[in-house]
């Protein structure tokens, strides 16, 4: 077996050193009744590289990959061009096969990357500090709500109707068990987000207001206005960014008064990957850093005075604080953070700004084309690279029929909000720098065909 270096002779010699007659003797603590006499029955035995590759390739071939068709999906996962050097570098064994940097003297590579990543994320989000990453945007969002409850000692969070429904569900699952109260609302098909309703819901019991920016329908809330209202009631503002490329063009949430900014970092460097692994971004004001979840890397010096980096403020974490930890999270999304950081290092702030402009321009072209389809209207007043169109019939069916024509034509609001019949005709569409004019035309034509 190609991954097992021990030979039969090695095994025999090692058993001799141990003083055991057989390997089974080493499992003597397992009660006899629980010991399997041989391989688990009914499962295949080992296979060659070739055979495994053939099997997995056949499974992969059953999927319509995003690059193989005109593609317009977003809703929390975005398809961007990832420079070739990103994937090359993350496959260096020294990054790929290292562990959490517990021994900093021989992990400065990972640690310096994390320090650079934290700086990049903080500057992107407009926060004082950022951590070394979380699992994904949705779990980061719940962690932020829990953090706001610790800081304010209040347990009632107001969630905007523009927050991704999966993020709402994730938070609702947790809140049900922790006793936090979430005030949620479904989105309304308006040209602008529900800022006023959110503001009206804030009171002296509110721990935080959670606002997605841009929101699930692609609209852009007035964060500064919401932040002012929250501040007046002593509540924190949590901004949620599911498309970080947007921050190349629109103002950073931290600059608009958000106290905590979380996000999904998948758009840069990580790829679609059918939903994971992704990358949770988490930034906040410096004064809240000891209430933050997740790993943090900090700068220090070594015994000879050379600059170096270590994991720090660990007393917040589960391995020291146990049941009093700020979170149960152990790892971060290290390799995804590396991919994000490399991509961001290539782009720089200027490159990100230009990339964002191109995204927005493609979205404008898409909006113009779809608006020309009879019966279709564009909902949004403002948007970045994603917006909502209203179709003359149930968008779920339309998406399936578009897929039959090999066009991956967006995410229906019915998929996201199966219970909200008022939203059924809504279709969420996204264009990025990868969207070509030919793709846009193919979408327009296919949609005309499906709706005809």
């Amino acid at each position: 077996m190609r991954y097992l270096p021990l030979t039969s002779a090695d095994r025999a010699e090692m058993l001799g050193v141990i003083g055991a007659a057989s390997v089974d003797d080493l499992f003597a603590d397992v009660p006899a009744a629980a010991r399997l006499p041989g391989p688990v029955p009914g499962l295949p035995h080992h296979a060659s590289e070739m055979a495994v590759e053939r099997h997995m390739t056949a499974l992969a071939a059953q999927n319509l990959s995003a690059g193989a068709a005109p593609f317009f999906l977003g809703a929390g996962a975005y398809r961007h061009h990832v420079p070739a050097s990103v994937d090359h570098l993350i496959q260096r064994g020294e990054f790929l096969t290292a562990y959490t940097p517990y021994q900093p003297e021989i992990a400065q590579g990972t640690l310096q990357v994390l320090f650079e990543f934290q700086t990049q994320v903080a500057r992107l989000l407009g926060t004082d500090v950022a951590n070394a990453s979380m699992y994904d945007g949705s779990t980061a969002c719940w962690e932020a709500i829990a953090m706001a409850a610790r800081i304010t000692r209040r347990k009632r969070a107001v969630l905007s109707g523009g927050l991704h429904p999966h993020y709402v569900s994730t938070a609702a699952t947790m809140a049900r068990f922790t006793g936090d109260v979430l005030e949620t609302r479904a989105p309304v098909l308006d040209a602008v987000p529900d800022d006023d309703a959110v503001i009206a819901a804030i009171d002296a019991e509110t721990s935080c207001v959670v606002v997605q920016y841009p929101d699930i329908l692609g609209r852009i809330p007035d964060l500064a206005k919401i932040a002012a209202a929250a501040q007046a009631h002593g509540a924190l503002v949590i901004a949620v960014v599911t498309e970080p490329v947007a921050l190349g063009l629109i103002e950073a949430p931290g600059k608009l008064g958000a106290d905590i900014v979380v996000g999904e970092g998948q758009a840069l460097g990580v790829g679609l990957q059918f939903g994971g692994p992704y990358l949770g971004l988490f930034g906040c004001r410096e004064k809240y850093v000891r209430q933050m979840p997740g790993r943090l890397c900090g700068q220090t010096v070594d015994a000879t005075g050379k600059r170096g980096f270590v994991l720090t403020l660990s007393t917040r974490e589960q391995h020291i604080r146990r049941e009093k930890a700020t979170s149960n999270i152990c790892t971060n999304a290290g390799l995804c953070a590396l991919a994000f950081s490399i991509h961001m290092t290539l782009l720089g702030g200027a490159g990100l700004a230009k990339l964002a402009r191109v995204n927005h321009a493609r979205a404008q072209q898409l909006a113009a084309r779809l608006a020309a389809v009879p019966g279709v209207t564009v909902l949004n007043r403002a948007y970045f690279n994603e917006f909502t169109v209203i179709l003359p019939r149930d968008a779920r069916d339309v998406v399936r029929e578009l897929a039959d024509r090999r066009v991956l034509g967006g995410v229906s609001l019915g998929r996201l909000y199966p219970q909200e019949t008022a939203l059924a005709n809504g279709l969420l569409v996204t264009a990025t720098e990868l969207t070509s004019p030919e793709d846009i035309e193919a979408f327009g034509t296919a949609l005309e065909g499906v709706l005809a």
Binding site: R290, S314, T315, I320, R321, K324
Partner: protein, 123 residues
């Protein structure tokens, strides 16, 4: 002013109805370099045995228990910038918080300096 010690290595120095609380030199020596002190809020009402304060070293976070019941009247703000005072001066400048004593009877049965020294010597 009388000073009392607990088996959990807190000291309390009593002046009238106010007690000043800190951790002992022995305790700081066991903890190593103190990096952060999470102090209670002024006005917090404590029951004896509550853990209103946490002392962090690099690899440990240790609860400090309230040796007596009472209301927090003051905290040692200097520890915000200089948590190391708990290491360098644990039984004077590194004090943690002050409480009004709700029940002076709670002091009965605590150790004095000599008894505490003997207790530590036996650990």
């Amino acid at each position: 002013m009388p000073r009392y010690f607990t088996q959990d290595h807190e000291w309390i120095e009593v002046d009238g109805d106010t007690g000043t609380v800190g951790i002992t030199d022995y305790a700081q020596g066991q903890l190593g370099d103190i990096t952060y002190v999470d102090l209670p809020e002024v006005g917090a009402v404590l029951k004896r045995g509550d853990a209103p304060c946490v002392v962090d070293s690099v690899k440990a976070a240790s609860d400090v228990y309230a040796p007596v019941s009472g209301t927090v009247t003051d905290v040692n703000e200097a520890l915000g910038d200089e948590p190391e005072l708990v290491n360098t001066d644990p039984e004077t400048g590194g004090w943690l918080f002050r409480v009004t004593l709700a029940d002076a009877g709670e002091l009965d049965g605590m150790m004095d300096q000599a008894a505490y020294n003997a207790y530590v010597a036996g650990l």
